[in-house]
């Protein structure tokens, strides 16, 4: 009786402890899970943005025109200018467009920045695809450096019918605390 209950207690404690450890791990698992779900469903204006190869069969849906607005924010307080060269444009779903964003480092030191994209309405996020974007990697700006940075994007033709306006927003963050060991991606960047 006694040993039997001791055994039963031990087994139950082990089972519960495994559950606790699992839930602690699950908390960390939530991070990639969340990113996955967001990318898939476009939650929080995140989308599965990057496409290397554009499907050559994508046809522009000329029957619809979508207005795309661009918005820019410099986050926090660091001496940087960041604007969209085009404020807004009209685009047919499936049609590819190239737009530029202007950035200027007004400080006397080199700054690495990271642009964070965000799209509204949320339901449009997963239909906006980019083949080229300055937001894919961190960008380094030497003191006083100015550049136009490209975004090459299109909206998938199966964009829901009720969406007529889309906003593409970039927030520019000072990423010096979060430097990554990656090759600077400056494709298409026009230094001015």
């Amino acid at each position: 009786m006694t040993t039997d209950r001791k055994y039963k207690n031990k087994r139950l404690i082990w089972q519960l402890s495994v559950g606790v450890v699992f839930m602690f791990g699950f908390c960390y698992l939530l991070v990639p899970l969340y990113t996955l779900i967001c990318n898939h469903l476009g939650i929080n204006g995140r989308g599965d943005f990057f496409v290397r190869d554009v499907d050559p069969n994508v046809k522009a849906d000329l029957s619809r025109t979508i207005k795309v607005d661009f918005s820019t924010t410099v986050h926090g307080d660091f001496p940087f200018v960041f604007k969209s060269v085009t404020h807004h444009l009209s685009i047919h779903p499936g049609e590819k467009k190239l737009v530029y964003f202007y950035a200027e480092n007004q400080s006397a030191q080199g700054i690495t920045v990271q642009a964070i994209p965000s799209i509204t309405p949320d339901d449009a996020a997963k239909y906006l695809k980019k083949t080229q974007c300055f937001c894919f990697t961190q960008q380094y700006f030497a003191p006083g450096e100015r550049a136009d940075m490209p975004v090459y994007f299109y909206l998938e033709p199966n964009l829901p019918k009720e969406i007529k306006e889309v906003t593409l927003s970039y927030s520019l963050f000072d990423a010096r605390q979060y430097l990554k060991n990656e090759k600077p991606y400056t494709e298409g960047r026009i230094d001015l």
């Binding site: 929080n44 204006g45 607005d69 918005s71 820019t72 924010t73 410099v74 986050h75 926090g76 307080d77 001496p79 940087f80 200018v81 960041f82 604007k83 404020h87 807004h88 964070i116 965000s118 799209i119 509204t120 309405p121 339901d123 009720e162 969406i163 007529k164 306006e165 906003t167 927003s169 927030s171 963050f173």
Partner: protein
């Protein structure tokens, strides 16, 4: 219902000797000036009345039992303690009521998400502790700071302005009848742009953009506040929106264009 409440409250206040400025006190959500605020108000009232109805039934039974079945009145406890039939009934009826409530709520929610075909886009950025308004197509950009003098906050003896803590130096100006899309983001921590009369509340989150829309039918000045704790001065970053006729809005835009200062992103225009 609310008149009754107000009377009750008034009586209570009189007892406590605090009737000053009672006329200004409101006890309910504002009906507001947009279709959205009207829809939300109606939803709020429907839910409230349903809750009152359920409350009347439940509390009647409860208070009747408290009155009737007391030992001091010679009550003897009955012996029943189970009845699956009633359990199913009082599971199903609330469920059906909730389904009834969910339908209008679903429709109104859909409307909140419909930001299409806007006439004007304003980007609103939250700062610790002020708001920045940018009219994207017009290229107008300015900060909106609390205008209440600090002395009125610090010194309880000072007479306070009528719109104490709800007044700003530069209000956001929008034309009447036009659909205005607002885009929200933040420069530091999470803020929340809340204007009760418009039925609009939306978080401003660093790195992300949110949207909502406003279409006001009555010109006037409307006031709100930041709705998300954003640090020490969370209570000191009010929102004031001035809704004006279209011609007046055009004049305002033109005046701003004249002495337009350089629009720079994220940094105060000097």
């Amino acid at each position: 219902m609310f008149q009754w409440t107000q009377k009750w409250v008034f009586a209570l206040l009189s007892c406590l000797g605090m009737q000053n400025a009672l006329a200004e006190s409101t006890v309910n959500m504002p009906y507001g000036v947009t279709r959205m605020s009207h829809d939300i108000y109606n939803l709020h009232m429907i839910t409230f009345y349903i809750c009152c109805g359920i409350g009347v039934v439940v509390f009647s039974v409860l208070f009747y039992s408290i009155y009737k079945y007391r030992r001091s009145r010679g009550a003897k406890a009955a012996n029943f303690h189970e009845h699956p039939g009633v359990e199913i009934i009082w599971t199903l009826i609330p469920f059906l009521i909730l389904v009834g409530l969910a339908i209008p709520a679903t429709i109104v929610l859909k409307d909140i998400h419909n930001t299409n075909e806007s006439d004007l886009i304003i980007k609103i950025t939250g700062y610790q502790w002020k708001w920045k308004y940018e009219y994207l197509d017009q290229g107008i950009s300015f900060f909106s700071n609390l205008a209440t003098p600090q002395i009125q906050i610090d010194d309880p003896q000072k007479t306070k302005n009528e719109w104490f803590l709800l007044e700003v130096d530069n209000p956001m100006v929008i034309p009447v009848h036009k659909k205005v899309k607002i885009l929200l983001t933040s420069n530091d921590v999470i803020h929340d742009w809340w204007l009760p009369a418009f039925g609009v509340k939306q978080d401003a989150i660093p790195g992300y953009i949110n949207e909502n829309w406003i279409q006001v039918d009555t010109p006037g000045i409307y006031r709100g506040q930041c709705g998300e704790l954003c640090g020490a001065y969370h209570g000191f970053m009010p929102i004031v929106v001035q809704v004006v006729p279209e011609e007046e809005f055009e004049q305002w835009v033109a005046a701003h264009m004249l002495n337009k200062t350089a629009v720079s992103n994220g940094r105060k225009a000097t």
